[in-house]
Amino acid sequence: MDTTGMVLLWVLGVLALVGGVLVFTLNSMARVTFALLGSLVCVGGVVAVLRLPYLGVVIVLMMVMEMVIMAVFMIAYMMNPAGLMPMSMLHNKRGSLVVSGLVFAALVAGIFLVPWPDRTGARPRDTTFQVGMSLMGDQMLTMVTLGFVLLATMVGATVLATHRGRYDRFGDDLDQRPANDPADGGVGR
């Protein structure tokens, strides 16, 4: 790792931690969401600096989309008034602090006590190629599983979140055309 890399790692690491802490200390929902976004973008940056450019950039891309969508839900469902009230939404703050503090201490102790093995093997020239070959080769099962999980999520989440079924749209005998929708779509189903 060269100097630029080290500096980047430090900056990104500190920013990621600061963003993470801000998530639970700010009191505006929009700022909270974007603090988390900042933190996770820094995580993506760390990954990219560690010679995984593809995964790093993909993390940035995904997190931006996810957090913007999250902001929408956040503001729609958040307790009234959405983030305007300087309020604490914590409960059991001390207990949580103790538990997470202990976990952190244990993890750090482990990090410095475990005798980590030496590096095995050399880094491949193209890491993107490596992840592709893994996912499409010896880790194919993982890929297939992830695919099915994502499909199930899409279907499940849509079913959970919709409250109108086809009987609402097409009438009891499913013969009502055009469909009874509050607003027309673009295809005219």
Binding site: G13, A16, L17, G20, V21, V23, F24, V32, T33, S39, L40, V43, V46, V47, L50, L52, L55, V58, I59, M62, E66, I69, M70, F73, Y77, M78, M79, M89, L90, H91, K93, S96, L97, V99, S100, V103, F104, L107, V108, W116, R119, T120, G121, A122, T127, Q130, V131, S134, L135, D138, Q139, T142, L146, L150, T153, G156, A157, T158, L160, A161
Partner: protein
Amino acid sequence: MTFELLLVLAAGLFSTGLFGALSQQSIVMIMMGVELMIGGVIVAAADFWYFLAPAAGSGQVVIVTAVVAMAVEMAMGFAVTTAIYRARQVDMTDMAEDLKG
């Protein structure tokens, strides 16, 4: 040393997220905590891959899996929140306690 420091960063993110997930009442805020925890996992996985086993693709596959887990958690979380909210206008875990068996 970089290796250990990056692991400390991962532990820090994980613990911050854990604190949030334990202490927050709002489902959306809890999800934010979980996201941070997964962020910690990602850093750790990248760190292990880079410093310990760069020749194997498994480290990268862990990151891919973590990212997918984030997306799934997010999508299902919002779907459940929407469903609960529609049913009884709450988005707090405490208020949803009567959902318990």
